[in-house]
């Protein structure tokens, strides 16, 4: 198996964001066929003073080593993918994600996450979001099992 070298992740340009949350609605449509956004969206735009912040998975892949059934994998295109048919809904990845980007909706027991599909990018009328390609080795993180204080 050839391990992927790069992955596309989201980049946010807050100065272009108007806070209309079209991205969240597009995202919840991908995951739950719903226009609600919010809790059902893998990307969240949060008001931060006069500006906005983006909160979304950055594909560092720490969760991969957490999954007891191998439902989390790095796909050929480099993204960290949760196979919900294999997932047993334990929430270990939700609890251990260092930035809280693995999400859980009341809709179903299995969590969901950003798959870099670009729906949010396309949904933004102002071009505040873009997908950028980066090297996996530069972002990859492994902090599982440390003896003593990290």
């Amino acid at each position: 198996m050839v391990n992927p070298k790069t992955v596309k992740i989201l980049k946010f340009h807050p100065e272009k964001c108007d806070g209309q949350l079209g991205c969240e609605k597009a995202c919840s449509n991908v995951h739950f066929k719903s226009d609600e956004g919010g809790e059902k969206s893998a990307i969240r735009i949060i008001k931060d003073g006069n500006s906005y912040k983006m909160h979304v998975c950055d594909h560092r892949g720490l969760c991969i080593d957490m999954c007891p059934v191998g439902a989390l994998k790095r796909k050929k295109n480099g993204i960290v993918w949760l196979d919900k048919n294999t997932c047993i809904g334990c929430q270990a990845c939700v609890g251990f994600c260092p930035i809280g980007a693995m999400r859980k909706s009341d809709e179903r027991i299995e969590p969901f996450k950003c798959i870099s599909c670009g729906a949010c990018v396309r949904a933004c009328p102002n071009g505040a979001l873009e997908l950028v390609e980066i090297e996996i080795d530069k972002i990859k993180e492994i902090v599982y099992h440390n003896l003593g204080v990290k």
Partner: protein, 774 residues
Amino acid sequence: MGKGQIPTEEYETRNTKHKWDYKKIKQAHRIVFKYSFKKGKVERGYANRTLYINLSSKEIKEKKVTEEMKDKFTGGRGFGLKLLWDSIKPTTRWNSDENELIITTGPLCGTTQYPGSGKSLCLTVSPSTDIICDSNVGGFVGPYLKFAGFDAIEIQGKAKHDVVILIDGEKGKVLIETAPLEETNTHQLNEQLTKMYASEDTDNSRQKVSVVSSGKGAENSYWGCLNFSFYDIRRKVPRVKQAGRGGLGTVLRDKKIKAIVVKVEKVSGISNNPADPETLAKIGTKLHREIRDLDRYQCNMRAVGTAHLVEIMDEYDLLPTENYRFGSFPKASKIYSPEFYKHFTKIIPDGCWHGCTMACSKTVDGFTVMTGPYKGQKVTVDGPEYETVGCGSNMSIWDPLWILEFNFYCDTYGLDTISTGTAIAFYMEMYEYGILNKGRCDNLELCFGNYEAVLELLHRIARGDNGEFIKVASKGIRRVKDWLIKKDWGDKDLIEDCGMESKGLEYSEYVTKESLAMQGGYGLTLKGPQHDEAWLIFMDMVNNAIPTFKDKAEALHYFPMWRTWFGLNGLCKLPWNDIEPANNAETDDPTKVPEHVQNYVDYQKAMTGKKITKEDLILQSERCYNFQRAMNVWMGRGRRKDDWIPYRSMGPVTKMEYISRKDRYDKYITEKIGISEKDIEKMNINEKMKLLYDFRQDQYQKLADAVYYRRGWTPNGVPTPQKMKQLGMNDSKMLKILQDEIDKDEKAGLNVWGGKYKKGEELPSIHPNYWKKW
């Protein structure tokens, strides 16, 4: 394996690869009898039926779980007690045809969201104690059994030839098949069965098979454990957890069961059909985050598992060394957890059930076996856990590799490391005193630290060696004590005081000499001296938080009840207090971990949909706890005399022990017994030891008085019919038995307090028949 983010297919254990002729093994199977069942749905944590198999009469049937059974016995160990009560006699012994081996689950068992939710509870009449022994164990069997359709499996009778019992939740079938060609020892048998019974040749499919097995050691000893497997998709081996205590594996092999295989079609996050899955996910995630943020500052379970305790116990003089003579040792740092961390495989989710992020099931992969039938092979060793390392120090083995070797062979031979290690430590002490010697030990030089002799003893037991010593040694300390005394090879008191068993079961690995409450935690128990009922050493000895008998009795009421609750529900105790919320120390009652207690209230509520308070949790336990004690009484082992503990667990048996901690004991005699320092100077060591002996024995009896009173038992330790009724346990047969036994005690003058109370000292109650007035 130091790297992370490796695709599961690419992991490698470096273990020796086996090639078996599976076709031939399968062809040798013959179906002895079978049964088809309708696949059911688990509702709010219950499958609502249990499975009964009789290997003698070849009968299989389903039993309904009634609402009343759920209300009174909750599940898990409670269900096991109820099933045994309906099936055995007071005269039933471990090898009686009517004895049962029971595996139960519990309503919360199989939840994936909350860490530590995959425990099975196993019960049987124990060969060591002649009463019921309950043992909890991880692995996938419990959850799978329930998802296949049963809250418990109950196996009575004995097969004629070695059989495998298959519970196939995929096809709705129970098959009892002869299995003549499979290996018996766990690590090989599990590999064979997991591969043979998986529906497809994939790791995901193998992960849906779980096996209960034991080994050759279990056939030839009273220390047989049950190994419960959980297939690891990364290591590609079925790993095992043990229901260790009380000889359950011995009963398995006595019934000629080679293995029980449980298979499921599918596991999901809501296989239990909880009433409120959102709440489960919320409280589970909260605990995952606590573990993520705090474990490395607290117990470090995720890195080294329970072995983190070794250095703590050594520091506080609690690590049993040379058969509990000492609690610390200069060489102990050689077996501290960092020494094992070096060998553990990292970066794998080491939970024994899905979703347990405590992940304490550590493993050494590619370990090269040094002795015995598998010498030279590379294997996966599950552990060592703290207790197994403690066995190492108890036998004075200070080499991590030899502890791993001991661990591996105990597991694969189906031997409980605790009983085996504690017993051998006792034999070694007897060897040191010349009560045993090479001739008497069938040519084994069983001196402290001789790891080769220890392994040789295990191999001989597994081979079924007929040597007189091997035969009796494999039955445990109690039988060896009787044997040594009968042979008149040593002083009876010394033998009785040194051998660490109570009720016939070997102690687990903590030194309790300086903690009276913990002596009670081992002695005033149902199945025998195991730390799963109460662990009060720090509270009592280090923090001095429970100074009076009344305080200690309260702790010996609350904690055994609280810990029993985990066993009723199919849970592991570790996520309760081996991880604590950051602000726990500032709460009203830090030792109870109030926030986590509330988690469990919410958890059971979210599963069953019933309204529950934290007091209800204790009530659920109290019902079952008293029921089990009542069954002990019924079987002739539930009175004060049966709560006897050896003096080694209370104080220094030998001069060497006294001298090694002279300042401590001298100070104790001054402060607690009231002898002035001047007078102590004049006393010789024998006088001081006698003084200490009498005082501490009396303290233990006074503790028993206080505890029996708090638990609502007679002064002779019998649960009263009044108490049982108060708890809602109204089984008329049981109430009558208890009344009769209490009347017998009354006639024999046994309903009296055991302590010698001086003027001004408070009795638990001035009415020895206090319970009648309820």
